[in-house]
Symmetry: C2
Subunit: 117 residues, 2 copies
Amino acid sequence: MTIDMELVPKQKRAAGERCCEPVVYPDVQREDALRMAEVAKALGDPIRLQLVDVLRKHAGKVCVCELVPLFDISQPTLSHHLKKLRDAGIVDSERKGLWAYYYVIPDALKELSAWLS
Amino acid sequence: MTIDMELVPKQKRAAGERCCEPVVYPDVQREDALRMAEVAKALGDPIRLQLVDVLRKHAGKVCVCELVPLFDISQPTLSHHLKKLRDAGIVDSERKGLWAYYYVIPDALKELSAWLS
DNA sequence: GTTCCATATCGATGGTCATCTATATACATA
DNA sequence: TATGTATATAGATGACCATCGATATGGAAC
């Protein structure tokens, strides 16, 4: 890309000095950033991060009733966190009678993980 | 770990049925989760995620004056985002005269990246 | 010294968040 | 049908967030 000289500080431009190397536009476009930031935001709470950690450790699906006693929060608050994770597309759930089973959606963390590494 | 039978629903316990496999405690402990969630939270905004993307593309340090025109936000708002990233330990800055240079701290994203993959 | 510039901070605003208690929902048991 | 149980939703509260315009800071140029 070219440099818009209007963006280079005037006082230094006269002396031919630049503040730094030409800037590089983000490789990550706005839409990619929105998608990945949504996932990162959902992981930006320690309880949700631990929830995802527990769910990922299980091959199968985990009952909410097993998750509640792991955390020092009320059941509605846990339910709220699970909803946040579901809204972010990280987990999904399945109902069987009274019980609800949650699991991590395969590849849900793939894009963010790839960008991070 | 052992299962606390008090946590297993009573109606099903009588029949010997379990809701799911025994739960596994998070491998990620509270302190690890706090640390990683702090990083994830800082990346949980599309502008900050793009900022980190731009900074990572540069070997050296990038002047704030080059960053401002890349985003459709005011200079104070950009400054606020850079502060958030610095508070999260993701970036650091250096002043030279009027200009401020930001760069990604090596390995700042390492722990979260490793956990994600 | 005075003016100009890049960046950071301040103060306000409207929105979102995590959490709780209380309640609803929907299924199971007796 | 009546009662109990697992989960979700509703409503409230106090804290935090992204954003802005205005201003402060502190260095550079004239």
